[in-house]
């Protein structure tokens, strides 16, 4: 292979080969240049055309904006008693990136601080969701002891730490459950409605009651911190800080002593009490029994507890004061009478004979009076004070449903009273037009009859009853009920009163007609044969009131209410409305005791207790 090639051939080959090598080297040089240009092109793309984009990203890497949640406003009663407050709470947080073995850590932690299966389930769910370098909550509301135990053992748990926060607390528990309501964790639905960045740091939002209606006021404005972080999310320093604006405090019209007394007075009975200040519409008490502990809801109620509340026969979650719709029964009589006076269908002189029953001309059916033997001769005043049904059957028949409807509508029956609390229902004030629309039937004369005594289709909520009572006390001036009295700025302590726009005043052709009715109601309490004379006896002030006893045919609610649970109780509901003192009314109230039997027996005494407390006990 080697020796046979001649010297010149080898030389020639050598030169050719060298040239080949050199050509290849030059080709390689060109390749290298091309590659370098490719790199340059790429870098130009990144550094010239996309610089802005990457600059933003690099800023985002290093600056994170953290929301500073505002402190929620406090809620007080009219005398400065704290109804809702923020308590410091401690929880455990885990930073997953810093934990080697999460399972082992959880097991070991359980030895130190109790971690329930529910906690672990929630933790795992949050772990899957979160893609941030922030911590994941493991336990909430550590007790002081748990706090101390963990603090001592902390070095054993890298990546787990204590976080301080606040939690909402209702020191008076069930007493404020319905009026004040409660806050709960923000849910997906809530976020959709909010859409706002104002809530970026907030975990809880008002769900019911005043906490909900005044959410904007109570929440405050979120603050922001610009923090420089490194890639592990550790704070290096704060670049900029906009402090949060704390939520404003609410001062309620409610008198908590009255509220608690009403609860006590209702006792084990199911029912509701609404007390108003007639002149202003201030809600002094709003009770719905049975109640529940709102603190259970703040951090997520255990499903077990919630089921118990749902299934409980008393329906504690249901706010009867605003949503319980009951037939007003005899409590409607003063208003029907006023209708009769105003429309000229009756007067103070007119007297009829009450045999204990009433029959429509041409009809067989007898409509009974509650007093089997009847009342004998009754005029307007007696009809009210002794609650004669027959007088009102007759009066209603002569008025006709539509005239009655139109008159009563002025008081707000069948309409919401625009109270500043959520969930109010409107009740029902029937008319022939209504029936045609709702039931596709004509109105029957018999239905008018029973409307005269507040039965049939007619429904009212305790709040409505209190409001119409207040209107009566005001001699026609209507008010809108207000739970909140004033909003206070926590920093300046500047209070701004909440007042509602004034409503119209009901004008009567003769203003003394109010007094006629009111006097009859005074007779109810203080007259010889007044149905509530027992509760009016010995009062230091004059009371005007009216009893009512509603037939039971199931509570009309818009929620599913299982009748079987009510079946054992077939007794009538007890109702009572009143205001006092008559000459210068300071309180108007409505009391309902479900299945309480008679209005005078069950409801009136409660009202009397409350009025005594409110009117006689000096303010603190």
């Amino acid at each position: 292979m080697y020796a046979r090639i001649s010297e010149s051939d080898r030389l020639r080959d050598y030169i050719r080969e060298t040239r080949l090598l050199q050509n290849r080297t030059l080709a390689a040089a060109v390749m290298v240049l091309l590659l370098m240009f490719a790199l340059l092109a790429r870098l130009i793309y990144l550094q010239v055309f996309n610089q802005e984009h990457y600059l933003t990203l690099s800023q985002n890497n290093r600056i994170s904006v953290v929301a500073i949640p505002p402190t929620r406003g406090l809620i007080y009663d009219r005398n400065g008693v704290l109804l809702a407050r923020n308590l410091p709470a401690f929880g455990l947080e885990v930073i997953p990136e810093q934990v080697d073995d999460i399972e082992a850590t959880l097991r070991a932690l359980n030895q130190v601080v109790a971690i329930s299966p529910a906690d672990i389930k929630r933790f795992r769910r949050l772990l899957k969701q979160k893609r941030t370098t922030h911590g994941v909550m493991l336990r909430l509301r550590l007790s002081e002891e748990e706090l101390a135990r963990f603090a001592v053992n902390r070095p054993q748990f890298p990546g787990v730490d204590i976080v301080a926060g606040v939690t909402r607390d209702y020191p008076l528990g069930a007493s404020t459950a319905h009026a004040v309501g409660y806050v709960g964790r923000i849910s997906e639905n809530d976020l959709d409605q909010l859409g706002d960045s104002n809530y970026s740091g907030t975990t809880h939002i008002g769900k019911t009651g005043v906490e909900h209606t005044y959410e904007d006021v109570l929440h405050g404005t979120v603050g922001f911190e610009q923090i420089e972080t490194n890639s592990q999310g550790h704070r290096l320093r704060v670049l900029e800080r906009t402090p949060a604006q704390p939520g404003r405090n609410l001062h309620l019209n409610m008198d908590i002593r009255l509220q608690q007394l009403a609860e006590q007075a209702l006792g084990d009975n199911t029912g509701a009490v609404v007390a108003l200040e007639p002149g202003t519409g201030a809600v002094l008490a709003l009770v719905s029994q049975p109640g529940f502990d709102p603190n259970l809801f703040v951090n997520g109620i255990e499903p077990r507890d919630y089921q118990a509340l749902q299934n409980s026969s008393g329906q504690p979650l249901y706010n009867r004061a605003l949503r319980g719709q009951y037939p007003p029964a005899s409590t409607i009589k003063p208003f029907v009478a006023l209708a009769g006076l105003e429309l000229g269908v009756t007067d103070t002189q007119r007297s009829i004979f009450c045999p204990g029953w009433f029959r429509l001309p041409g009809h067989e059916r007898r409509y009974r009076d509650w007093r089997h033997e009847g009342h004998g001769a009754v005029d307007l005043t007696r009809a009210i004070s002794e609650s004669c049904d027959v007088y009102f059957y007759e009066l209603a028949q002569r008025l006709g449903i539509d005239r009655l409807h139109d008159f009563l509508a002025q008081f707000g029956f069948g309409q919401k009273s625009a109270v500043d609390g959520p969930g109010e229902l409107a009740g029902l004030l029937p008319s022939s037009a209504w029936k045609r629309n709702a039931r596709r039937e004509a109105w029957f004369p018999g239905e008018t009859i029973i409307a005269g005594i507040g039965q049939g289709y007619m429904l009212a909520t305790p709040l409505q009853l209190a409001v119409v009572t207040a209107t009566l006390a005001n001699r026609g001036k209507r008010i809108a009920p207000r739970i909140v009295a004033a909003i206070e700025d926590p920093l300046t302590h500047n209070k701004v009163a909440r007042s509602s726009a004034p409503l119209n005043t009901i004008q009567l052709a003769r203003s003394d007609r109010w007094d006629i009715i009111i006097n009859a109601m005074v007779q109810v309490m203080h007259g010889e044969r007044g149905t509530a004379r027992g509760s009016g006896a010995g009062a230091a002030y004059k009371i005007a009131g009216k009893t009512g006893t509603a037939q039971v045919f199931g509570l009309k609610q818009d929620e599913k209410y299982d009748k079987d649970k009510v079946a054992p109780h077939l007794r009538d509901h007890a109702l009572f409305i009143a205001f006092a003192p008559v000459d210068n009314p300071r309180i108007a109230l409505a009391v309902i005791v479900e299945n309480g039997g008679s209005g005078s027996g069950a409801a009136a005494p409660i009202a009397r207790k409350l009025m005594d407390q409110y009117l006689l006990t000096p303010a603190p």
């Binding site: 030389l11 080959d13 050598y14 080969e17 060298t18 080949l20 090598l21 050199q22 050509n23 290849r24 080297t25 030059l26 390689a28 040089a29 290298v32 240049l33 590659l35 370098m36 490719a38 790199l39 340059l40 790429r42 870098l43 130009i44 990144l46 550094q47 010239v48 996309n50 610089q51 984009h53 990457y54 600059l55 990203l57 690099s58 890497n61 290093r62 893609r131 420089e228 972080t229 490194n230 890639s231 592990q232 290096l236």
Partner: protein
């Protein structure tokens, strides 16, 4: 009669010639080292300890370069098969007794130092191939090609087994450069490339999980920005945010804040790009190109086939490292562990590099053997 034989030499010239130093190359390397110092100071968070260690390694590197530059290329040629055999043996022993670091069996712990035989192979293979192919006429025939293939693939298989796909590919590269320069027909190169492309799906099957992840992340870094795609996403952000003029020396926020992992080693270019911008990048590339140009010039002027092939392949490998590292850091290529020559902080790669420059200098400064 070259200018080297005349007496026009200045005393300085005499010295550098005595030491077999190639001034242009040396200057380029020193300048690059200086840039490296600047960048490492920032990337290391102004850690002077890091700089001192880097200075030590550079000194050792330059020292090695000087030593090897004294070796006449003929000796290199003679030693080539032995070096190759030794490297191969070491690779086998790594496989048998190797040290596990970062989940890979790449190191031999020799008590005093830890040694990566695959690095040695990066030099041994071109030496061997250059000698083998340079002996006979070019371009090599089929038989020679086949033998070359075996010479290449044996160590590559061993290295890939470690697993060290990056280094394996670089070794293949250095071998292929020799083949390319030796003049094998373009159509052969073309069909070889085609075969390689077709074999790629097959190769997928043999890849380890993390290697597959790397490829997937390369194709779509956004798919896992906090996980495997993290390095590349962060480094692109750093580069891009530098803009045309850079944020200024020591002002790289990404690196200062721990955002770029491996910021003193494989990803140091990201720091450089962020702080010095496109202008800085242009300067650096120019510096690299001048060193490469000098190396190619040395290859062109080389006296025989062996030296030509060796010089060409060494400088082309250098270019490849630059291209792969910058390409990787800027998102053009998947992440492979290739440091940026003379800039990245690190031990073994620097040693190999300086040795190869020593060989280049040796090739250029020793008198040419008559044909």
């Amino acid at each position: 009669m070259t200018i080297l034989e005349s007496d026009y030499r200045t005393p300085a010239r005499k010295l550098t010639q005595k030491l077999h130093l190639d001034i242009p190359l040396l200057t380029g390397l020193l300048l690059l080292s200086a840039v490296g110092f600047m960048v490492l100071y920032s990337a290391g968070g102004q850690d002077t300890g890091l700089l001192l260690r880097h200075a030590l390694r550079l000194t050792l590197g330059f020292g090695l370069m000087l030593m090897i530059a004294q070796v006449p290329p003929q000796r290199l040629q003679e030693a080539a098969p032995w070096v190759y055999a030794a490297a191969l043996a070491l690779l086998v022993s790594v496989m048998l007794f190797g040290d596990h670091a970062k989940g890979a069996q790449r190191w031999l712990d020799l008590g005093v130092i830890r040694f990566q035989p695959s690095e040695l192979m990066k030099l041994a293979l071109p030496l061997m191939l250059a000698r083998y192919l340079g002996h006979r006429s070019l371009p090599p025939g089929a038989k020679r090609l086949l033998v070359s293939g075996v010479l290449i693939l044996t160590p590559v298989a061993l290295v890939a087994e470690q697993p060290d796909l990056g280094t394996a590919l670089l070794i293949v590269g250095s071998g292929l450069f020799v083949l390319l320069l030796s003049g094998i027909r373009w159509w052969i190169i073309g069909s070889g490339a085609l075969l390689g492309a077709l074999a790629a799906p097959l190769m997928w099957h043999f890849l380890h999980d993390y290697q597959r992840t790397r490829l997937l992340i390369f194709l779509n870094p956004e798919s896992d920005p906090l996980g495997a795609g993290y390095h590349i996403t962060q480094s692109i952000i750093a580069l891009g945010s530098g803009g045309p003029f850079g944020k200024g020396w020591l002002n790289g926020t990404q690196s200062y804040l721990d955002f770029i992992p491996e910021r003193t080693t494989d990803f140091v270019f990201a720091v450089y790009g962020e702080e010095f911008g496109l202008i800085g990048v242009l300067l650096l590339l120019t510096l690299f190109i001048t060193v490469i140009a000098r190396g190619l010039y040395i290859a062109l002027c080389a006296p025989d086939h062996f030296t030509r092939l060796l010089a060409g392949s060494l400088i082309l490998s250098f270019s490849l490292y630059i291209f792969v590292n910058i390409g990787m850091v800027s998102g053009l290529l998947p992440v492979v562990g290739v440091p940026l020559p003379l800039i990245s902080y690190g031990g073994t790669a620097l040693v190999t590099l300086m040795a190869s420059f020593g060989m280049l200098m040796a090739i250029h400064t020793h008198p040419k053997k008559p044909v």
